[in-house]
């Protein structure tokens, strides 16, 4: 069920209305779980069994790990739990990819036979709910939290529908307490009803409106421009490729952060707080700063569950660079079973490692007062984003020869302008939307918590703003809901 379809609108309104009507919190939890499972089942049919299996698997292992006192046994149980989760993810996501690579190798060595593909359907959200489950068992193993008392509560954490399909990746120790808070009567053990209050409602609707605006007004209208450049990039001039890379950066940001805003808004309306996923990433002044601002829930997950266990920056410098590279390599692979995502991840690993190396090797330059000035900050942003958008080419273009061509044109400019001018002239609409995005993004530089500020306006002005956003979205909607890019992962 896509967020930007009538199906979801009807589903969400129905769920929220019924949610409010249920007085008993316990039943609210059961209802929320049923709604989340229905949401998943709507698109995935029988594959809901995988979600249920993951939930039962990790709930069971979480309890056993907590009860076990023997450290060695604890570790073994954790490994079992992780193996189960990652095997499921690996099987459904990477089997056909592995077979394709094996067959390619076979063709290279002129082997006559090839293994037929399994043509497995990728269960929606498997990358995300697998990572949710991992945070649960690992947090219990580390003693950071006790296991969930109720299976229903844990199941809601795994399957919570606003973030089920494309994140943000929740942490068990941050979400589960929200399900147990606000006990009305400690003696009776009854929990107060989760109320949809006006503040949360206004804030949630504002967030969702902004999300739909980013996705449907900006991302979907910039997409045709990107498709034109990268459908067959061979033959395009450098400036066209650069324009395409910037447009794709704008598209994926609006698409993904738009989705996150909708997820945040839906969760807020239902009375839950989920982490933000973006913090103006295109104002990042270094690769590590970029990853503190882009897909924050994933980067922090990779830091806490991969980078730090690998040693982080506590071992030698070389080991630190290697750790960064490995983490980003796996991060790229997590995005999809395709070499272009791996290359994208590796590029970012390289950026992080190089940046770290430069900071270590040239501390005087790294700490130079120039980089604290306005010009220095602008310079840092431009250099960082130059490399970020270069990596976006790898993310967007699957075909290796097209990727190499595009990256080469991006790095080594040919200064041809005729084709680019013609291209801009042919795609004026997409250019205008891209310019609107750039202007709005630049204006947002010093603006913090804009959605919260708008939601605190007087009801009349708030309504006018939201209606204006809705009219803009509707006026430039082409009638066909486009997929969210991160739904593929």
């Amino acid at each position: 069920m896509l967020f930007n379809t009538i199906d979801f609108v009807i589903f969400f309104i129905t769920v929220t209305t019924l949610f409010v009507m249920i007085k008993n919190r316990k039943f609210q939890h059961i209802f929320l779980l049923a709604a989340s499972y229905f949401f998943f089942y709507y698109s995935s049919n029988y594959l809901i069994t995988l979600l249920i299996f993951t939930t039962i698997w990790d709930f069971y292992f979480g309890n056993i790990i907590w009860k076990t006192t023997d450290l060695r046994k604890k570790k073994l149980l954790l490994i079992c739990s992780l193996t189960g989760n990652l095997s499921l993810l690996g099987f459904f996501k990477y089997t056909d990819f592995a077979i394709t690579q094996f067959n390619l190798l076979g063709h290279y060595f002129d082997l006559q036979s090839s293994i037929p593909l399994l043509n497995l359907a990728l269960p929606i959200g498997i990358s995300f709910y697998t990572f949710h489950s991992i945070t649960y068992t690992v947090s219990i193993y580390r003693g950071q939290m006790p296991p969930a008392k109720s299976f229903v509560d844990y199941a809601i954490f795994v399957a919570f529908f606003p973030q089920l399909v494309a994140g943000p990746i929740l942490r068990a120790k941050e979400f589960l307490p929200q399900l147990r808070e606000k006990i009305e009567n400690v003696e009776s053990g009854r929990f107060r009803q989760i109320l949809v209050n006006s503040y949360n409602l206004k804030l949630g609707i504002t967030l969702m409106a902004f999300g739909f605006f980013k996705k449907m007004f900006l991302a979907d209208n910039i997409a045709p421009l990107v498709n034109e450049v990268f459908y067959q990039p061979m033959g395009h001039d450098s400036f066209t490729i650069v324009l395409g890379a910037i447009a794709f950066g704008a598209q994926i940001y609006c698409d993904f952060s738009g989705y996150t805003d909708i997820a945040l808004g839906a969760a807020t309306i239902l009375g839950f707080k989920i982490p933000i996923n973006f913090n103006k990433p295109y104002f990042a002044i270094s690769p590590s700063d970029f990853w503190r601002r882009w897909h924050i829930s994933l980067s922090s997950w990779l830091r806490d569950y991969l980078y730090i266990p690998l040693g982080g920056n506590q071992k030698s410098k070389t080991r630190t660079y290697l750790n960064l590279f490995i983490v980003m390599f796996l991060g790229g692979l997590w995005h999809g079973a395709s070499w272009n995502f791996v290359i994208w991840g590796m590029l970012h690993g390289l950026y992080l490692a190089c940046h770290k190396f430069m900071v270590h090797r040239f501390p005087k330059i790294a700490n130079s007062p120039f980089f604290k000035t306005k010009i220095g900050i602008v310079f840092s942003i431009l250099v960082t984003q130059y490399f970020v958008f270069l990596a976006w080419i790898a993310f967007r273009v699957k075909d290796t020869s097209s990727m190499v061509y595009s990256m080469q044109k991006y790095i080594i400019w040919d200064f041809q302008t005729k084709e680019t001018i013609q291209f801009v002239s042919d795609h004026g609409t997409g250019i205008i939307f891209l310019l609107i995005f750039v202007i709005l993004y630049l204006l947002s530089y010093r603006k913090e918590n804009l959605q919260e500020k708008i939601s605190s306006f007087n009801l009349k002005y708030w309504f006018i703003i939201l209606t204006s956003i809705a009219i803009l979205i509707l006026s430039f909607f082409n009638g066909k809901p486009e997929d969210f890019i991160y739904f593929k992962f």
């Binding site: 069920m1 896509l2 009538i6 199906d7 229905f38 089942y41 709507y42 698109s43 995935s44 049919n45 029988y46 594959l47 056909d96 394709t100 067959n103 390619l104 063709h107 037929p116 593909l117 043509n119 497995l120 359907a121 990728l122 929606i124 209208n221 459908y231 067959q232 061979m234 033959g235 699957k398 075909d399 400019w413 040919d414 200064f415 041809q416 302008t417 005729k418 013609q422 002239s425 042919d426 609409t429 509707l474 006026s475 430039f476 909607f477 082409n478 009638g479 486009e482 997929d483 739904f487 593929k488």
Partner: protein, 361 residues
């Protein structure tokens, strides 16, 4: 210091060299020019003396050379002006939106080429959904049936089918009015483009009915020399095609069945409209390479064949398939597009022969 100067000098020479090697202005019609020509043609009055053949379909029909076909028909005493209205990523659903405009030009013959892709789900979520076999009851199809039965208002208004188009048309309308009010003496950009185009074309100017020449390589319109991207002219070797194939996984269940396929319904409506206006319709399956056919699953092949059989029997139309003949030929620029190359005339010849056969029957 001298090193910096040397570097600056080399860099400047490099920039200058790149700038100097720009393409010379030529007389090719580019994409924008083609759009202008198309609009002009579709809005110009019909010429009762002229017999028209329109070729429609996706990018797979775009490599058909209208000049070649016109000349070939002329050799068989059939004088038709041929236009190629192929559009990349076209599907019957998309084509249905503009078919009325084409019908208004009163073509004598419409040649419609389609293939497997025309009936496939295209978006990643639809493709994923297609892979998920619905073993359990499916609420999404139940919801669709309910919304169709109850005729939920949101789908009933034309505006909501494509609000963006209405908005852009409104912007263009107000823009043209304001230009007329505030800049009454200046020529519009469209007029300027037209004049430029006319100057680039034959001295007699753009005109329907002018005879076409034999030595032009490719004209989607008569008297319009269209720029062909170099990548479209390259004929791939078998190894190169194999590389393409290896990067595309075999997929199945992308074609919904005949009675549950929006594109089939759209195609049927197109056929009904053309037949009700007594326009001769020639349907054909565009050629595909062997490697493309190998990426198709059995279910998709079966569904496609059922669609073809149903359309053929329901509307009493013979649908020509070029797949068997073309699958192993060396004519491909990629898995499913014939190259636009002077050495590849087979596609044009075969289609010309089919048209002749239909016209003489």
């Amino acid at each position: 210091m001298s090193l910096s100067i040397a570097f600056a000098l080399v860099f400047s020479l490099y920039v200058l060299d790149q700038y100097m090697t720009t393409n010379s202005i030529d007389s090719f019609v580019d994409t924008k020019g083609k759009i202008v020509l198309t609009k002009n043609f579709l809005s110009s009055p019909n010429n009762a003396d002229e017999k028209l053949i329109f070729i429609i379909g996706s990018s797979q029909v775009q490599s058909l050379n209208t000049t070649f076909i016109h000349n070939y028909l002329l050799e068989h005493s059939l004088n038709y002006t041929v236009y190629n209205f192929g559009q990349p990523a076209d599907t019957p659903t998309e084509r249905l939106k503009s078919i009325d405009t084409l019908i208004a030009k009163k073509p004598d013959v419409v040649v419609y080429g389609f293939s497997y892709r025309d009936f496939m789900s295209s978006s990643p979520s639809e493709l994923q959904n297609a892979k998920i076999v619905k073993y359990l009851p499916d609420p999404s199809s139940a919801f669709k049936k309910i919304s169709v039965t109850l005729n939920i208002p949101i789908t009933a208004f034309d505006f909501l089918e494509n609000p963006a188009k209405v908005t852009f048309d409104a912007i263009k309308f107000f823009s043209s009015i304001s230009k007329r009010i505030f800049l009454p003496t200046s020529k519009s950009a469209t007029n300027e483009t037209n004049l430029w185009l006319l100057n680039q074309l034959n001295p007699g100017g753009y005109g329907v009915g002018k005879s076409v020449t034999n030595d032009t390589t490719f004209w989607p319109f008569p008297n319009a020399n269209y720029r062909i991207p170099q990548r479209d002219t390259i004929i791939l070797t078998d190894d190169e095609l194999k590389n393409y194939y290896n990067r595309n996984a075999v997929a199945d269940n992308r074609i919904n069945s005949f009675d549950n396929n929006d594109n089939v319904a759209a195609l049927e409506e197109i056929i009904s409209k053309l037949q009700s206006h007594h326009i001769k319709l020639i349907l054909f399956i565009t050629p595909e390479s062997r490697y493309f056919l190998n990426t198709l699953g059995d279910s998709d092949k079966k569904e496609f064949n059922l669609i073809i059989q149903n359309i053929s029997s329901q509307y009493e139309l013979e649908i020509y398939s070029l797949n068997d003949k073309y699958a192993d030929l060396r004519v491909w620029k990629d898995l499913d597009h014939v190259a636009i190359n002077d050495n590849v005339t087979i596609y044009n010849k075969d289609m010309s022969n089919h048209i002749i056969q239909e016209l003489e029957s």
